[in-house]
Subunit: 353 residues, 4 copies
């Protein structure tokens, strides 16, 4: 089958023939119908994340935001069968640790990231295996098409968990969103749909324009001066209730915390770059005296899909709005390379394999 393989960090992915996967007893094989392309793919491709022990090896098939159809079923799998329409969250849990038993694969003590680890080849391929498939596969409602589902993960679902669960977003909250890539635009749409009031921050006008279309109450162009946090605070009547770093560089993280009012909550979603290597200097005395919260947020618990599907089914959330272009597997290498400049608007989704 065809797959897009990371042969050398920083060099274009190679689209080539590889063996079709066979299921282990706990696995299913899923034929990919759609898979998003993500800034995390770009990080992996750059060779980032060695500082958290998560550097992706050369030889890896990337792709971690898939939806597809079960094509083969391992002998111990009980709840899935050939032909089932499924999505696979990027955080493959073991199904047995204390977090997994609460339905929180995203916090699994032995999590394996799909498409980002040698033992979990990814979904920029005609098909891919899923470990502990009974636990990790999410069955799709008939009403949700594959591309829409691919648009959900990992960015839309990450933004949903970050706001609904980790920020415990309240109606009426002022929500600053720093960085209007896939996570950021998702966060703006979600915040607006849930009765909160998003303020979009980015350095590119085309992304801020898209943010306004998706429901941003106000926007701040951060390119110009060192006053971003102050501008957000002024727009938010003294300080944001919730602020999210949807990018992952020192500046957006610090601006996000600086945007908060007393007792506000910052949510960190973006992982950092080679510049920060995972370390950012934070204003701890201000955080103490104003009782600010810093909440890390990673993926989304499996048990939260039900709520997300209800919201999409009733039309409250429309993940398709965040989808950018659709493309073919052959175009993945080029699209990934274009992310150097943060030029993509919305979430690109591969739909031809």
């Amino acid at each position: 089958m065809r797959a897009a393989v990371l042969e050398e960090h920083g060099e274009p992915l190679a689209v080539k023939d590889v063996d079709y996967p066979e299921p282990e007893p706990d696995q299913v094989i899923v034929e990919t119908e759609a898979c998003g392309i993500c800034r995390s793919d770009w990080h992996a491709w750059q060779g980032d994340w060695s500082w958290i022990g998560a550097s992706v090896p050369e030889g890896q098939i990337l792709g971690h935001e898939p939806a597809g159809i079960v094509s083969a079923v391992g002998e111990d799998v009980e709840t899935l069968q050939e032909g089932d329409r499924v999505a696979v969250p990027f955080h493959l849990g073991d199904g047995t640790c204390s977090h997994c038993r609460e339905g929180r694969a995203n916090n699994c003590e032995t999590v394996i990231p799909l498409g980002l680890s040698s033992i979990a080849p990814g979904a920029f391929a005609e098909a891919f295996p899923v470990r502990e498939a009974d636990y990790n596969c999410v069955k799709l409602p008939d009403s949700l098409d594959f591309a829409e589902m691919a648009g959900l993960g990992c960015r839309f679902m990450t933004a949903y968990h970050a706001l609904a669960d980790r920020a415990e977003l309240r109606p009426g909250d002022w929500v600053a969103v720093h960085g209007c890539g896939g996570v950021g635009l998702s966060a703006i749409h979600i915040a607006d749909a849930l009765g909160a009031h998003p303020i979009a921050v980015d350095v590119r006008e085309d992304k801020l324009e898209r943010a306004r279309e998706l429901g941003a109450s106000a926007t701040v162009n951060a390119a110009e001066a060192g006053t971003t946090a102050q501008e957000v605070k002024a727009l938010a009547g003294g300080g944001a209730d919730v602020s999210i770093d949807a990018l992952g560089i020192a500046e957006t993280c610090q601006n996000s915390i600086g945007s908060l009012g007393t007792r506000g909550t910052h949510v960190q979603v973006g992982l950092t770059t080679g510049e920060e290597e995972g370390q950012i200097e934070l204003p701890v005395d201000v955080m103490t005296m104003r009782e600010l919260d810093f909440h890390g947020s990673f993926g989304m618990p499996l048990v939260r899909y039900e709520e997300l599907f209800k919201l999409i089914g009733e039309g409250t959330l429309e993940p398709s709005k965040i989808i950018g272009e659709t493309l073919s597997l052959e175009e993945v290498p080029e699209t990934l390379a274009s992310m150097d400049n943060y030029e993509t608007v919305g979430i690109p989704v591969v739909t031809e394999f």
Copy 2:
């Protein structure tokens, strides 16, 4: 009247005669019966906290942990009268901002710190004024004596709010306490009394010994090596559920975050020193991937005294256990100076004026 005045940063306080205060319309005057001595007094005396705009001016009467008896009442005060036994939390709220209206003077948008601001002379004196007295004074139950109440604030009540509210401590939690000064020992006693399991961390054996007496399940001496966080994690079965930096230096803050298990909560209570000037480098990628929380905690909402008094009344909490020596106003300068070396064990309380 006699008062201990900060005449020059870093030089011994001067105990001398000053004018007896007169109440403004919104104020009462409280005759001091007891007042704790605190690391914050030491910070103020050193001239710290200019980086958060909170440097204490020369000429200041220090002292911010008082209990006493109302001796004069301003004309607009409605709920207090001469002879009332009261405590005064160090964070004097305006009573009207949105936080104050929820009973959270500790988050007041225009808070004035008692004994740490030129417009709020402190309680290392025979008497001191309290602004917005109806709002800020806490009436004492008969069962609580003045020294015990002075032992409560700011450190005991800060530790209580940090654990019960900001960490949302759960029964059975492993709680790492970094730094066994007044806040830290209070945290250990509180955690134990509420069904959690504290692990005490300090560099001095006498403080760890006191921690064990107060209910620490285990102790770690951090003097020896760079493995403190790993030792705590091992004792806590993989990682603490809650960890508190009760001191406020880069090392304790970073160790505290490093002590946490997945989804754990760090609470920052200690304000930093001239070394950090309010900025500490934190491992944000790890905080993101393991969904850690960093919660700033400052003082305690006024509305939480009721619960605290019930716990003390029933004998569940015994703040008197944390009180170190009792002393006279004349001894304040020397005791404050001795804090250079972190030598005091427990909370010293001034009871003679």
Copy 3:
């Protein structure tokens, strides 16, 4: 001045001249600009609620949902002055009990209901006094007009508190609303605006039609058969997450609980009639085995107005949509009498005095 007075339970109110009020030291006088008419006025007029010690005495001026302009200020009042635009929630707190100190006048231990107690004459009058005015008056944002504010209270704000706070409504929740009077229609609009999915239940088609206009995902006409709860459950994919009794009779209360899925939450807002006298038989074993919650909900804490005003200011909530007709003080007696048959749709507001 003119006022609508309850002279005899069940007989038409008398609109007549009464003395203009003088402020006590803690009071302000408010000139009424608008005041809603409410089912609670009807209950009071009928002589209900003796079973909870809340029967309204003859001689009472009714009216408890006012907005207006401060026209006189008592000598101890500090934060209000003549000309201030204010709303007055119907639950007048003392400002000093433990609930009031948290900003929860609705839970005050010595609450006085405006317009429903001889010591708090109501707002179906040109002006009315407000006790503990510093505490109880809510200043209006300029953007909110008086009729809109009158439309907010007590029903809209009660519905908001019931859903946002007492039900802890989550995005995507199925919310059954039993009874589409003022509270019920408010609840439907609010649930829809906050990303939840309301199912409206009533016996009248015109009210269900209005519910659909306000965002109901589905409707159930309860007039026909004893299967209301089953119908709601089917529409809600197995059972509602939240269900609210917005009327207050045995049938709506029991239907509401019967509409819930496992772990669902019923919120009781409506007070009962002379039929129930405050007692309803409930299915406690089912509530135990399915871990259902029954939450009483009364008014709204004062500290929640800020969030409500933000939501209205940004256009997320539009209380004006629930307002029915506007009318004059002279028309109050007749409109009140017409409530016998549940014929009013939306909230009638008196705007001429």
Copy 4:
């Protein structure tokens, strides 16, 4: 093997020989080492609960609070093997519904009650089968012995979940416990250990005496007059924060709600008798006006055992204190019969088979 069989409702159980069970593919067989005797067994034996569709059929082997050793393993079981020490909660989940996926077998949509359903023979026998064993078995820490574990379930764990989770017990809370059987005594010990202050209510002095030994701050003998709720309120400084009906008759349920202060929480644990048939008249207007909560509570989520085991391991909770007598399988029929008069004090545990 020997087993105690319910041959006719109300007639003594028959201890007799039955076939040793064989495991289905998803099952394990557990050799019983200890099993508690429970009021639920007595209800089942009486033929109660037809009103919730849960009448226990004749021919049933009772016994639903077991701990033991795995003796045989079905072919699809992955995480258990012969010799494993396990406990089995009485609520056997399917492992796949949305509640089960959160680790909440107690809320399973297709729950099967162990020992109370024809398809789940109970543990008053030398051995018994466990469906979906990977999901439902709880591995025992080495430190916990079998009798102690049998003492945990269902009553101790039910009380723990009721207080820690359903009441969200806070330190310092006044907790009224109505009925001092196994659940009630457990609740008293737990509340005391977690920093709350229990008030015990019963009609028997020997049970109140035991309650005092277990940490009750105060006791009320309910035999005498209709003033129980008032007495509790007076002891609790105006009203309990939490109150639990640990018995399940109209009087205890109504007294429990009547014991609460404003914003208090009642937790219903006891299932009703043939007298109530599941229906109890409740004071809904008072519940509305004082914003009371009624929370049903059933069993305990599987994911909560970890916390419970930590608390027992550190000595904070001591379930062995609630164990009454230990006895043999042959004595079960007689002990069960003696429950007619509520004479057993503490939890009797069968330890000889």
